[in-house]
Symmetry: C5
Subunit: 336 residues, 5 copies
Amino acid sequence: MTVSYNLDVSSVSCLNFFKLLFRWRGSIWKSVANELALWLIGYYAVFVVYRTLLNKSEQGRFVEVAQSLDKALDKCVPLTFMLAFFVTVIVDRWKNIFANIGFIENVAISIATIVRGTDEKVVLSRRTLVRYLVLSQVLVFRDISLKVRRRFPNTDSIVKAGFLHEHEAVMLDKVDCNYNKYWVPVNWASTLLFQLHKDTDITPALFNTVWQELKLFRTNLALLCNFDWVPIPLAYPQVVFLAVRVYFLVCLVARQYVDLNRTSSVDYYFPLLTVFQFVFFMGWLKVAEGLLNPLGEDDDDFECNFLIDKNIATGMAIVDQTYDVCPPMLRDKFAD
Amino acid sequence: MTVSYNLDVSSVSCLNFFKLLFRWRGSIWKSVANELALWLIGYYAVFVVYRTLLNKSEQGRFVEVAQSLDKALDKCVPLTFMLAFFVTVIVDRWKNIFANIGFIENVAISIATIVRGTDEKVVLSRRTLVRYLVLSQVLVFRDISLKVRRRFPNTDSIVKAGFLHEHEAVMLDKVDCNYNKYWVPVNWASTLLFQLHKDTDITPALFNTVWQELKLFRTNLALLCNFDWVPIPLAYPQVVFLAVRVYFLVCLVARQYVDLNRTSSVDYYFPLLTVFQFVFFMGWLKVAEGLLNPLGEDDDDFECNFLIDKNIATGMAIVDQTYDVCPPMLRDKFAD
Amino acid sequence: MTVSYNLDVSSVSCLNFFKLLFRWRGSIWKSVANELALWLIGYYAVFVVYRTLLNKSEQGRFVEVAQSLDKALDKCVPLTFMLAFFVTVIVDRWKNIFANIGFIENVAISIATIVRGTDEKVVLSRRTLVRYLVLSQVLVFRDISLKVRRRFPNTDSIVKAGFLHEHEAVMLDKVDCNYNKYWVPVNWASTLLFQLHKDTDITPALFNTVWQELKLFRTNLALLCNFDWVPIPLAYPQVVFLAVRVYFLVCLVARQYVDLNRTSSVDYYFPLLTVFQFVFFMGWLKVAEGLLNPLGEDDDDFECNFLIDKNIATGMAIVDQTYDVCPPMLRDKFAD
Amino acid sequence: MTVSYNLDVSSVSCLNFFKLLFRWRGSIWKSVANELALWLIGYYAVFVVYRTLLNKSEQGRFVEVAQSLDKALDKCVPLTFMLAFFVTVIVDRWKNIFANIGFIENVAISIATIVRGTDEKVVLSRRTLVRYLVLSQVLVFRDISLKVRRRFPNTDSIVKAGFLHEHEAVMLDKVDCNYNKYWVPVNWASTLLFQLHKDTDITPALFNTVWQELKLFRTNLALLCNFDWVPIPLAYPQVVFLAVRVYFLVCLVARQYVDLNRTSSVDYYFPLLTVFQFVFFMGWLKVAEGLLNPLGEDDDDFECNFLIDKNIATGMAIVDQTYDVCPPMLRDKFAD
Amino acid sequence: MTVSYNLDVSSVSCLNFFKLLFRWRGSIWKSVANELALWLIGYYAVFVVYRTLLNKSEQGRFVEVAQSLDKALDKCVPLTFMLAFFVTVIVDRWKNIFANIGFIENVAISIATIVRGTDEKVVLSRRTLVRYLVLSQVLVFRDISLKVRRRFPNTDSIVKAGFLHEHEAVMLDKVDCNYNKYWVPVNWASTLLFQLHKDTDITPALFNTVWQELKLFRTNLALLCNFDWVPIPLAYPQVVFLAVRVYFLVCLVARQYVDLNRTSSVDYYFPLLTVFQFVFFMGWLKVAEGLLNPLGEDDDDFECNFLIDKNIATGMAIVDQTYDVCPPMLRDKFAD
């Protein structure tokens, strides 16, 4: 489920900052907690080894290693650049995916407005057009979102949920095409729409209006598939994710407090600034990891199942329940 | 209310720079003032403790802590990168929200031009079309802007303001849909438009022209809802906002002037450069915080209530007051 | 007036670099000159005070202050980041404003092609359509550009220039709308176009073609108004402009050459590199300041008055002078 | 073949990180392995020469050289900036190329919906329209993708694959145009479509619908050609690719561990951090190199041959196999 | 001529890197060579003066100057930031210019498909439509590209090349408009198209299809003019170009090897790393300089003359030679 926090930031103030800070779902705290715990365990393991198990000369050598690592680390691992630019690419992609996720309202309103008639067949046609489009969305989402796949593990579950009739499932199955078949329900819808065009005297210009909306809906879904088919080249996230982890792995040694005589340092017992750095960089990385597959299962990922339910309910309400409903007109108050 | 300053920067000069600098509403000064005061209080608290309450050896330890913090701080908190890239993402989002905020002129002019007739019913239809669209905008704005919510706390207030008739409110309420119902007035408008198409001999091509404008208006509003539904993942602002605050929290200790013998330093009594740094970074952060929810209550946020009033007044003026008004034509001066 | 230099850079060579460098209008030299002079005066004032008016011990304290400032300055004022990202935002905005500034050609050609007829009334209609659109542009430009405002300080001046007839001015004035009225002439044009559609047998599809162009022209102007209504939030330019000025203010002290014994230094009499730095950063800032309001009065700002004159002249030439003009066809040479 | 890894990153966790990390195809490991091996050979060659073949004074000079190189290297080769910005440009281009790669579904569905008829000639026309479009894609891909060129080395191979008939090949060959002829099959398709428009009573509005899709498909292919015709100016990748290689070439000497007395250093036998640096920077560079020509032969490049096969199979299935297929309508479960 | 190198980078490997590296036309080597030679001459001039002409005490002062310059140089000239962000802006502009450069195919295919008829007049009309559009392109290119200007120095040369007939030249000349007249041939084309619409029974919807393509072609050309009219504000390239030159001018002194006793340094005789730096930064700058005016005369600039020839040849081939050509249909192999 996406995490909404807009009301918390409706104005800029310290208070709102704290409200924002201490949320848990989808927060930096939740995403960083595990790895920070792991890292701290590692840190104190090295800590104990260095301070208690090593003898003087080994300690000396450890100090040399730690210091030389610490000195060269930042030069050799360009964390900030990599993270900043990678996050920019990922955020851009995330926006594009969301922009194409598919909302039914436009196509449903165009159907309700242009496909006229209240006899049973036309009503059913309008409902079926909406159902085919959402069905197409279900088929696409099953392949790109684990959550939707879990809800609809097989064709039967789709039939049971009502998006598909059994005889349609058979027809869908029979289509002889070795590639994905997301287009089949849209093709049905398009054919049905053309029949309505012929049967109910929809003019070509208005047929076209509905058809363009229908096509746009399909194109959006097709773009989702394409984003799934061609992700950011694997090497890019690998190099970034690896860089961050290697950086902090090296820090386990490099950031040990080695000068055991100066006990007053703030880092003597707890590597305060390194922990801060861990939280900031790892939190930044988690933003990237979370956005990399926005159709996944994180707190912040798009709620595909919710969207499917919303689309079918809203679509049906538009084309059937509120079809041809328009309140009687009264004079408004703005006329003076 | 948005803060306009374009006239101040119509030409590049020192004078204009000062004009720009010493504005208060929406300014860096206003947004930074509080937190700077808080920070200075904290700073002088540490200042007093360090200089008067600590004994020599404690002071020595304090110096060590301060110096080690100061040395590692910039390496560990990548402020500039985080702020720069985060602000870029936020500015982009802010632009998109503004681009979709919904202006009535195009759809109103298309209605006025294409829906012809001066008998009462057609005139009322034109007015009602505009009213339904602005009503839809009101419904959307109520859910995404605190200011509009405060103006229209419930359906009654919308009825009282004239955007909704009571019988329409009842019909709106009866629509059986568990999701948002912003589309209902647009659906009414679309149905009404189709009736006009049939009753007043609007050709399909021209019906389509109006319908496309109507759809565009609705799509813009839908995009606003989507921006509200799926904000920037929470962890991203959290990590940035936190980084800046932690940075300056650490500065409370790290930037203390510790060498009490060199009384001539510029930082001896007042941390001049750190205050500058605070102003610049916190000011930058405030830009980000302000833009994060541009429909909120800050000085610079979009004036949704103003826009609603402007839309209804302008829309009504276009479709009714100036309907079919065109001055008698006279020869112009450009003919020679 | 915009400054064109494309021919100077038609090929990459040292010579072209120098040609580009030694231009004055709109150049870095012109924009930086004043502030550099001011800064140098400040610099030499401090210079004289330090070297001649202070005694030894005061000089010692000055040195300490200067050195501590110099050391911390770059860490505390993130000039490069702020300038680089701010300029990116501003350049983007500048491009968008230019893209919407409104050229008449497309709408004029569509009018000339589709609104047929040579009797006086139709000819006048075509001219009037163009005039209304440019009038709308004049109204918008008056409110967002100081130069145009100065050319057209009141309605009379617009009437005198021929963009508006007196009876139109009266009608415009009578429109009862508390908000801007840029839409009024477009509404007139749209109404007039519809009358032509009825009177001269323009088919709906072709009426639509012209109407879309007309709408696009209006939408562009509306976007210009929006850019004017909602500028970049004030705090953003403030923080950037302030940072640059504070930086160089601090430099007045921090970059004094303090070691008076080493007279051989390049900085002994003239702060060469700091002056370079001033030129580069201040020049960069001036780019940002110049672009911030591209409808202002700088050398590089868009020439709104020129555009108005060009639009009315070109538009009239298209819809009247060259109406229905097409050279007799002859065989071309490309046929073999 | 593109490398898909979305399921691995459906949620953010350490485990998924490791799953992602240890993939081979298209991975950073595969792309970096060779050059890292080469570099290590070079490194140990210098290593052996320095430690065993040089005498004391030569070693002394070597140390001086190494240290002076190491000190100035990062200042003189701005790796991070160049890579970060270059990758941004390249990623943008890569996205644009992918967005224009050409999917047949939209145009095929529009053909199936609008070109009606089941007599043999119309069926064949529909199939031929799809074939011509994919043929056009084949012609374009041959010139911009080595893999497709290898599959279709000459016109015969295209004929054999069935995309082109022999008499069509002759006609294509006869077209007298010294420039590319990708447009010829689209021209055929357009002509055929117009004949269908005349023969089968397609209204102009619907003819237009199909034609726009057909044009869009061609425009996408034309954009691919343009991207091929005008690449990123050669000097840009040259300067970036060279910078990275020169950097690590210099590192062969600069990063030798020269202080032979301190044998405890982590770098004594193996330049650990420099190897990390090599992996990160070279991996980043490989991302850029891989994206520079996304129609090439790398693991991550777009699968043009697959797309051609998918387009012809899906297109044929849409316009022929499932033509006019629409399941009988039944009441759905969403009505209550 | 643009420089194509896509085949060299079809896969990522060391070999391809070298292939790419050792190209000359449009390469970094060619663009940097001259200035590097100049710089080296300057460097060795200073070199000789310092080592042979100065006496000991003058050398001492030189060392001080060189060292103080070297220390402050990178802080004072923010090369990387300026170059990186400037190149980003320039690359974006370069892409936009290329996207609007004007290809004839779409409009030609629409003309060939929709303007039917084989009698001489209609054929000539189709040819003339194409010729007018390319003529418009020639007129625009003459004003923005030096190469095209040189090919067509006056109207006569355009007439001689066949793009313009003499009587058309006279008519073009007679148009009374003080601004550019690129729109005149498009206006002729539009008028001619309308006559065809009347004479050959093109339906309004299809007339519109052609007209939109024609308009798009003109809009692209108009955008090219706009890019020429309003370049990037002069001060921006000035500040960047100047910064790079000043940087390396200062390097002439600052990077001299001053410690004459340590003869073993790698920089003793040749400033290796500074030369690398020169190549990388100057190469990066040359990318920017080359892209700044992509219609100029560099190796990488767009080939406007080639495009004009391609457009006229392809356009004529489409509307005349292959008009109404469609191969006889045969069964394809994909049916099974």
